[in-house]
Symmetry: C2
């Protein structure tokens, strides 16, 4: 026979050899996948019953997916795979703001807003002034930058989860920074919330004794001509679950306190009640040509 037959000892090598004619990158991916899958089965001594449960889990996850629900992304999220892929594809080498996962709620375009506008359309929650500056790697202002923000409400829901309860596009905004790269807007302090946990992934978390919550955060995507895009979060220091995010999105460098400020003049200047919360978030971008080592190198 031309090909080596299957054996327990050489199982991964035999299967990998079947990909000899695949295009190089596909061959590399499938070989690594098969090597690790077979090592997992051998290390754990996976039983036939556990294999059946695995097949049933994947099938149920597939059947849970539709236009508005992506159970396999949730699975990737709670196993830290999404965060790992994001991290290795956006290594910063300390030169720029760290990235984190996009999450599943950036499903509608954020409405364009003027600097200083409020993105809270119903005024529900604790008022908060967000300020910051977009710079390049040497601290130079980036005047052309766009800042796209979206967040959950004070009750822990995104607008798209509560049609008819929250106004459309509530707590979303697309800003252009000023000539100094600065941005500022009003919002409310978001609340922590659970990822959708009524499917197989939620069942797995429950069986494993894990909670489904994410700590309070504001999403940012910052883009500018000639610079690399940063997709990240601003996390609320002291939020419940800040040290046990269900999707492992928290990085120390992204956590900020939201202090309560008693300053009637500043409140009036920004159209806010006094006192109000504040947070400052500077975003540093890498230049497009200064890409860190691509993933895999």
């Amino acid at each position: 026979m031309d090909h080596e037959l299957f054996s327990e000892e050489r199982s991964a090598e035999v299967v990998a050899a079947s990909f000899a004619s695949a295009p190089p990158r596909l061959r590399e991916l499938l070989t690594s996948l098969v090597t690790h899958l077979h090592a997992f089965v051998k290390e754990t001594g996976l039983t036939a019953q556990e294999w059946e449960q695995g097949i049933a889990f994947l099938t149920a996850a597939g059947h849970k997916c539709d236009d508005v629900r992506q159970e396999f992304i949730l699975l990737s999220d709670v196993l830290g795979v999404s965060m790992l892929v994001e991290t290795i594809n956006h290594r910063t080498a300390g030169g720029s703001t760290e990235s984190t996962v996009t999450g599943p709620f950036h499903v509608v375009a954020s409405p364009s807003r003027a600097l200083g506008d409020s993105i809270s359309l119903d005024g529900k929650g604790e008022p908060c002034l967000v300020t910051g500056q977009v710079t390049g790697p040497d601290g130079e202002p980036v005047p052309g930058a766009s800042v796209d923000v979206w967040q959950a409400s004070a009750d822990g829901f995104y607008d798209v989860q509560q049609p008819g309860i929250q106004p459309e596009r509530n707590l979303r905004g697309l800003f252009t920074v000023d000539a100094d790269g600065r941005f500022w807007f009003n919002t409310i302090v978001p609340r922590y919330y659970p990822i959708p946990d009524d499917g197989p992934v939620g069942g797995m978390l429950h069986a494993a004794g894990r909670h489904p919550f994410r700590p309070a955060h504001v999403h940012f995507i910052v883009t500018a001509p000639g610079h690399q895009t940063v997709t990240t979060h601003l996390f609320v220091a002291g939020s419940p679950y800040i040290d046990s995010d269900a999707v492992f999105g928290v990085k120390e460098s992204l956590v900020r306190s939201f202090p309560l400020v008693n300053d009637p003049a500043r409140a009036a200047e920004h159209g806010l009640p006094n006192p109000f919360r504040t947070v400052h978030f500077d975003v540093r971008l890498l230049r497009a040509q200064d890409a860190p080592a691509p993933a895999g190198d």
Copy 2:
């Protein structure tokens, strides 16, 4: 913070720590799974686009699954995972007939037949006499044994794939061996066939330059009181794809030649036209109490 935050370097350890409260076996499985998934991502430098393609692949596989189609089992099959799980859960230590995958076509009960009956209900194909003996590990006959057989037709299809074309239960039979553990029946020589390849798994095989075919074989499940069940195949020596089974099911010890016999008296004895094909397949069972090391030990 009580818990270590996510980092590229320690990603698998951080995620594994989240399963600290899981029941021991689930914790073991998830820890190994996460360790290998993260190693796969890091080794390959998986790009965000490749991750998205992976999510889309799993989603399409899930949507392909229904009552009669199991795309995740096919995926497990073509990656050699099914064969590996079967093998580590039925180690023979050389004391019994080797096992192989059950496959997806044992979906209806085989009809009870008398020794010597033909399981070919339409007579289409090359006639073949199958003989064999079921014994224990020391060669002693096992008179109470049941032999469940099913196979594809001379065109490479199972009855359930061709309702209205093949008779119901064509090429399936359940036999009880005689006092010497012997069994014999008439059938036709099966043909090689492709696994269902019109879904995402077929797409993957195509992209990887692999064919979807399985070499010709007859399925056996042999059971007897006081003995361990063997699920296996009898492979036709010289069949196309005998050394490149799409699901890696072939083991050297399971391949037999099907020689053409010219013996008018024997043909008449078995109600077969002359000449006819023959094959002999002895099946050796382990005693129930002589289980080999369970998987994982």
